[in-house]
Symmetry: C2
Subunit: 671 residues, 2 copies
């Protein structure tokens, strides 16, 4: 098939070699080739392709198609991994590798809305590894790894309880006589709700429940509960399980509900690494579960990557479509121009590319920081404690990045006009994944408030002249912005000054309320607007500063480095202009200075425009990963739109049955 | 069934009588009762209820379910209208009434994602009325009204052409010998694409095509083309028709594609009211189609209403859910509070209610202005010409309102946490409808640019000391903001000053580019950022000013008026704070003044909080119209979530067939 001629021309005219960019983006030539061979191996497999577009299927058909594909996918992936590493043993790293394969671009290309077996490898096995004793691991881990009669899920959230986990109602009562736990979801709001794969797929669940021994409460513990018969898959007695129904996105996940009524499990199915119940019912608290806390942080660190992945999928689709699509003349005597030649379109697309690339730089740094903190914690005695800093940072970055990324995806979708609205364009799936991350594993506002509390504490410390962690050390720098020659320096400094002032506002607002009659907790609630604003301002200042810092470490060809510089610069200016209300409020910036930023911003758009296609080509998304009629590498947009429309089952018969049953009688006046 | 106790308590404690508010909102007691009796009549009909939630159906099943419901709905509606007005004759007003019924809240309650026969009554019949000659109307109108063998649609947009209608490729060549037009879509990008009902439902289409007579081009004309056989519904020879597939929303519409190859129609099937082709091929241009232009304006005026309808649906759901849902303690010794008691939640919800109500005031005013302009145009000679002003206003209001409303719906969805993500919460459908309006009938950026061109022209006129139309007369007022005692006056004036400066920026930017080598058109393109910013600033200033002006005319009880005052005030302050970057840039506003606005903003949140539920109750949305497990009047959130999940076909059998075919073999290592 021929490539769209506009795309050909753009590619030929680009200064950037997209292959050079791709090498840097993938982390090296070897990684790039490995991913490509992996994708080739999987994406050519007819059993991993969809005869009917998932958006045309019923929810039940979609589930069945997903299960068929995911079992085949897992088997094939296992074989592939075995061929590469014949001596592989089962440990944390093997699991990590496998999870990366499942959740990275490979899985996305096959399951645009995820699949029900993912949680087995992420939360279920991770919990076994992290919270199971050696005996428990001996009993369960190998079976779980081979899915030998075990398909697991992780059940924490309840119908009535999410964020506030102390409020969970599910309970486990220890019966010392039979040495069993008795699990119950005593009310409707206690039903477990949301776990992936729980609906119709998993037969074992790790259930979080309030532990009671002889009426005494011992906090939340994890229990391994078999919920379906290993051989028949029938729900076991006392188990009420099912799927929670369609959602805005992620419709391959088989999210489920679970009610438990007097379900008994043996004592050794409480996860006992961190806390134990002895046969006689004695409760023994072990070391505080730092790693549990670590998992939450881990997920937030990873979410930054997921967010930029979604954003750049969308940006790639929009960029390619905006070159193929022609609309309106600029000059009357010339033909319609490609949409990306309209500056209003460049403003929608190029800053999103810049954002995704800058997030990538920060995400890599954050991952390094996360590993560093893990080493600190694992050392005996602990070598420093950066966990609070990491925690605060991961909270606000996850919140702001998922917010900006999902808004970016939506903007990019709208930049494709009507066609962006079609499911075959795939923006709906991408948006579903991006915006889900805004809520799951720490809701946006809840996370911002956590960071804000940290920031206010640090601010108070700064008043006491204490040394602050590096990411917040700017809170001690009370010098006002001095607008110098370095535009980027000016912008970052302005963002920092704003963040400092927003933190100060939050603290003052809390203090004022505290001085009135309300409690400290209520004072914090009443300062909610200022608190969240402070965390957002902090995140923006941090992202801009850190992206610039990481840029300096980049090693790549001249052309790649130069484009990256333009992108990060655009990101910093875009962040500055996006925060202009706060920036103007807290800094003395003149109209001339602001116009200077805007002029540079427009220069960057113009500079990046000729390389736009080469850059998104360099992300090297396989067509399957984009899953979009509008975004394919060959730019055959209209052909694919028509092909996908013709595949629609509704178009397989010239006349739909409802004509005879309803339309004709209506037209004959017989209704 | 009992009502949730938290809702009961809120309702009892409210100062506002929701029934008073409902009366005002509906436009009077009679209107309120009529709508209620209408809803009662339709919503209790079991044939208008869904056995399975549409989100669980396949795309094809969904179509069939929708056709079944919509034919029954139309028949029932016809009977109802006949009973009310036995003497009814078919004219513009009857059609308008009927359309209002179809597209208002009644239709929404039955078809959350619209239905395929709507376009028949909106665009198809409207075009017959507006563009058909008397003979054509005699031939088609009565049949169309009774759907006697005629189900119509309106086909303008093509696969490759939307905004720029001069670029449409479909052509109609007149054959004087046989006195027929020959219609063709000569390329793939010329295929008609998007018309509602076109896919499998309509058998006649009004097709927009480039008219050629003996090779000479006579612009775009409308042609009535039969596309399916009246009796068999088979596509006619030369007709390639089908459904374009699933979308982000509006999945009941049966949007279709249409290819035409040498399809012949008789000469009298060109719509000839405004232009004619005589038998010998002579082309006669009639009066310029002002009314065609009028239709575009009409749709944009109406869209403002649709946008606020969506926004308030979402706000009602979120408000009720936020009272039922309890999450986190504020004070440690008290139980978890309802989410709406968190100020961060109030900030998400209350300003959206304020926005919807303020839009309503402006929408009513805009409708009046529209009717006034129609009268102007119909007078002979025309009594003034406010059409350009109306056009400019309707463009930016449609753009800004659909943008703000869809963002508001999304924010409200996210304010409901994970449950907002479920299709049974219905935010996905509401969002789909709201965001579709951002693009259709004039895409956001395209419309802003149209308004901006008007604004720049007016600004240039103001420099020449000309009198300006009332909505832009502030462009002549170059006095700087003087911060006085009236906070609202200050805010509106600040928004006006910003808008004036943004318009001036756009003009300057255009001028600067014009002075360099580029063409005037390219200069406008390069000023795209400033142009769109100017139109947005103008829209915000207008909305704030007009909402305040309309507020003064409200006649209602004291309590209703007082709540409306708080809502409009909140809207104005929220608009001011939302535009704070532009406001601070172009006005000398001190930190103290800004803090004063913020303090008042928070006071308003606190003042509105106790009446929040009573207000949304007062919108009087029927549960069916909300279509949400989270938003029902009785607040039985968890019960409905479970009920809806249990109805899911995937939950009708304890073990899904894919267990034996795929999961079990996998667990036995046989894959």
């Amino acid at each position: 098939m021929s490539v769209n001629s506009d795309l050909q021309r753009e590619r030929a005219a680009a200064i950037l070699e997209s292959e050079d960019f791709a090498r840097w983006w993938a982390g090296g030539q070897a990684q790039l080739l490995e991913r490509r061979s992996l994708e080739e191996h999987f994406y050519t497999d007819p059993r991993l392709q969809d005869a009917v577009h998932p958006s045309c299927l019923s929810y039940k058909e979609r589930y069945e198609q997903t299960v068929a594909k995911s079992t085949h996918f897992l088997a094939k992936l296992r074989a592939w991994q075995k061929a590469k590493h014949p001596q592989m043993s089962l440990d944390v790293n093997t699991l990590k590798d496998f999870r990366t394969l499942l959740s990275g671009s490979l899985g996305t290309g096959i399951f645009q809305q995820s699949f029900p077996l993912r949680l087995h490898f992420s939360m279920f096995m991770t919990t076994l590894l992290g919270q199971g004793t050696e005996e428990q691991q001996a009993q369960w881990l190998s079976r779980a790894w081979h899915m030998d009669g075990v398909v697991g899920t992780y059940a924490q959230t309840e119908l009535g309880h999410g964020t506030y986990i102390r409020g969970l109602e599910t309970r486990a009562d220890y019966d010392p006589e039979r040495q069993e736990f008795v699990l119950n979801t005593p009310t409707q709001s206690a039903y477990k709700w949301w776990p992936g794969g729980l609906g119709n797929t998993a037969n074992v669940a790790i259930v979080l429940a309030q532990l009671y021994v002889q009426g005494r409460h011992h906090g939340l513990q994890s229990f391994l509960v078999r919920i379906r018969d290993e051989r028949t898959h029938e729900p076991l007695p006392g188990v009420d399980v099912g799927d929670i129904g369609p959602r805005l996105g992620g419709n391959g996940v088989n999210n489920g509900f679970l009610g438990l009524k007097d379900v008994r499990i043996p004592r050794n199915q409480m996860m006992m690494k961190n806390a134990q119940v002895l046969p006689d019912g004695t409760f023994v608290q072990g070391r505080p579960p730092l790693l549990l806390y670590g998992t939450m942080v881990y997920v937030r660190v990873i979410t930054l990557r997921d967010a930029l992945f979604c954003l750049l999928q969308a940006a790639t689709i929009a960029t390619r479509y905006s070159i193929v699509r022609r609309q309106s003349r600029i000059d009357e005597d010339k033909p319609e121009v490609c949409v990306l030649d309209h500056i209003t379109q460049q403003v929608k697309i190029l800053p999103q590319i810049a954002r995704g690339v800058s997030y990538r730089l920060v995400a890599d740094w954050l991952w390094g920081f996360y590993e560093q903190v893990l080493h600190q914690l694992e050392a005996n005695p602990p070598a420093g404690n950066s966990l609070p800093e990491l925690h605060a940072l991961s909270c606000c970055l996850k919140a702001v990045a998922t917010d900006e990324a999902s808004r970016g995806v939506d903007l990019l979708r709208k930049s494709c006009g009507g066609h962006g609205f079609l499911s075959s364009a795939n923006f709906d799936s991408i948006y579903g994944m991006a915006t889900a991350a805004y809520t799951y594993e720490g809701e946006y506002t809840v996370l911002l408030l956590q960071t804000a509390r940290f920031l206010v504490r640090q601010y108070v410390d700064s008043l006491k002249r204490k040394v602050l962690p590096s990411s917040v050390s700017y809170l001690r720098d009370t010098a006002r912005l001095v607008w110098g020659k370095d535009l980027l320096r000016n912008c970052v400094r302005a963002l920092e000054c704003s963040a400092l002032e927003e933190v100060r506002q939050a603290w003052q607002c809390q203090s004022i309320h505290r001085r009135s009659k309300v409690s400290e907790a209520m004072a914090t609630n009443l300062a909610g607007r200022q608190m969240t604003a402070a965390a957002v301002a902090h995140a923006h200042a941090f992202l801009a500063r850190q992206a610039l810092a990481e840029l300096k470490k980049v090693q790549a060809t001249m052309a790649v480095t130069s484009v990256l510089q333009q992108l990060v610069e655009l990101f910093v200016l875009d962040t500055f202009l996006g925060q202009v209300g706060s920036v103007l409020r807290w800094n003395g910036i003149t109209g001339t200075q602001l116009r200077f930023v805007e002029r540079r911003y427009e220069q960057l758009l113009a500079a990046l425009r000729p390389n736009a296609l080469a850059i998104v080509d360099g992300f090297d998304f396989h067509d399957r990963v984009l899953g979009s009629t509008l975004g394919c590498h060959d730019g055959r947009v209209y052909e694919r739109l028509m092909e996908e429309a013709r595949r629609n089952p509704l178009n397989q018969e010239p006349v739909n049955a409802s004509f005879r049953s309803h339309l004709l009688p209506m037209m004959q006046g017989k209704l």
